[in-house]
Symmetry: C2
Subunit: 339 residues, 2 copies
Amino acid sequence: MCAQQEDYIQTYLAAIEDELQQAVKQAHDNGNTQLHDMLAYHMGWQGKPVNIDARGKRIRPLLVLMTCSAAGGDWKQALPAAAAVELVHNFSLIHDDIEDRSPLRRGRPTVWKKWGIPQAINAGDAMLTLAHLQLIRLTGKKSPSIVLNAVEILQQACLHLTQGQYMDLAYEKRNNVTIDDYWYMVEGKTAALISVSTELGALSANCDDQTRIIYRSFGRLLGLAFQVQDDLLGIWGDADITGKSNQSDLITRKKTLPVLYGLSNSGEFTECWNQAPVCPDQAEKLIDLLEKAGGKSYTLAKAMELINNALNMLKEAHPMGSAGQDLKNFVLNLIHRQG
Amino acid sequence: MCAQQEDYIQTYLAAIEDELQQAVKQAHDNGNTQLHDMLAYHMGWQGKPVNIDARGKRIRPLLVLMTCSAAGGDWKQALPAAAAVELVHNFSLIHDDIEDRSPLRRGRPTVWKKWGIPQAINAGDAMLTLAHLQLIRLTGKKSPSIVLNAVEILQQACLHLTQGQYMDLAYEKRNNVTIDDYWYMVEGKTAALISVSTELGALSANCDDQTRIIYRSFGRLLGLAFQVQDDLLGIWGDADITGKSNQSDLITRKKTLPVLYGLSNSGEFTECWNQAPVCPDQAEKLIDLLEKAGGKSYTLAKAMELINNALNMLKEAHPMGSAGQDLKNFVLNLIHRQG
């Protein structure tokens, strides 16, 4: 990333953080800050360590602002939408961590680990509500009918998210998950919120409906690519950069794309996989078998195909000037990320 | 209740049920009905037994429609708002049941008991999302700015609900809960959603802002009265009608208004209460001590005071004709309910 790119990203990130903090402050209740503090902890502003890593990458709100700019809008107008999608993402993380019983998130204890499951469920509910409240702050910047359109788009994405999450949880208990099932789940679980990011960015730029829908499709393809890349990094990533062992996806028996490929294309892999639970030695063997069966190259090719489709879709939206180039570069960086 | 009242209530209830079913159908996902079926079960439309009891009383949506009529509006216009508040209420029940580890709701296993905690958390999230999606259906009946106003009012109530729920969960672990703390919690936990019911009813009738706010205050007072009445029934209600033992609130150590009164006014009660856990014999003794200390009459007087305040507030809103009388009667029936 060149210095100029870094500059505008830093500007965006600072504005996003400010907007997010304003949103979360609404959880203050007559001087009572406890609920707020749970949310502030999850967002990486409180608790130890407080640092950039504890906040996550803010990829979705960056996409909202960058799409707004690329579509010829003023990125500041898109800040409520940017905060809203990031808060929905974080709501889903708080609840996912309970559902998956994950003890750690971004290197720190998860909300349910610190405050117990009942308070963590409720904190997630509050975070979701704050997301939608923040989106309504578009009022004043946009006409009521545009704001209402944004509200509906985000709620539909939330519904899609819960449908994807239903599948993800159901697949854990199923032995016959197919690659088709995988795409169906990922559409909701990952692509819905990334496509809403680019769509709301375009909406904030006052795009016509057709262009807005093209930006949405671009986001959807990007979201699918993002998930496939995540699956790749979960097995072949650099553990020092991803922050987790490249055996953990296998040990927790995640039905990722390479695993599903292995299950439908390699008897040897399937046999080894079915000897649950997976121990570290077995994980190494599974990785070898996957590579031999072509699971790594298949997944890599799929990621590349999706990212190319996403970039072609972006071209169709005719993104403007340097902001358009920035968005393209951001996408390329995302897909070449190592963690 | 006279025959005429029953008639219009049946008409309202049928229309509410239809609107709710339309809303929940949106959880259907490309022919996949599993997530939908969890929600339909909770709503009392699927699973055994399917009967009116499994659905709950639909008090909040009835209040929306009745307030709309009393404020001179067409109740059919308020149906999306009526369904929305009932869905928010049911979202909170699904999550509350997990948080409280309640195995039964309306005489049937709770959602988490049937499908496990992870799927139940996600089902609650879906229910909340469907609530807000349904409210947006006011579009077409109302101008975008009125719909947006309704959306914000409901989201603010949801935030208030999570603030109240935070307190309710926190109080379980605290020994020094005061009557002031109680009111603070009940404002969010119960009053927020009942005040939003009357407010959205008024909004759907195109009331001016001042009248709408009076209807909201009426709902708030009614909500507070409703909770106090609930606390009374939890100890002195007829178990055959309430459907639960009048010892269960004491055995689960709920910090209800009569209990908090006992703790601050009766040394004998406090001593007995502190001998946790409460067994059935002790529960009978606690009830006796509460009555002796005046806890029952205090709570009853408080309920009456609140209901009178609510009725006075309703008078200020100048409800119209027979619909206004119906609303008043509905309130009186609510407070004289036995279960």
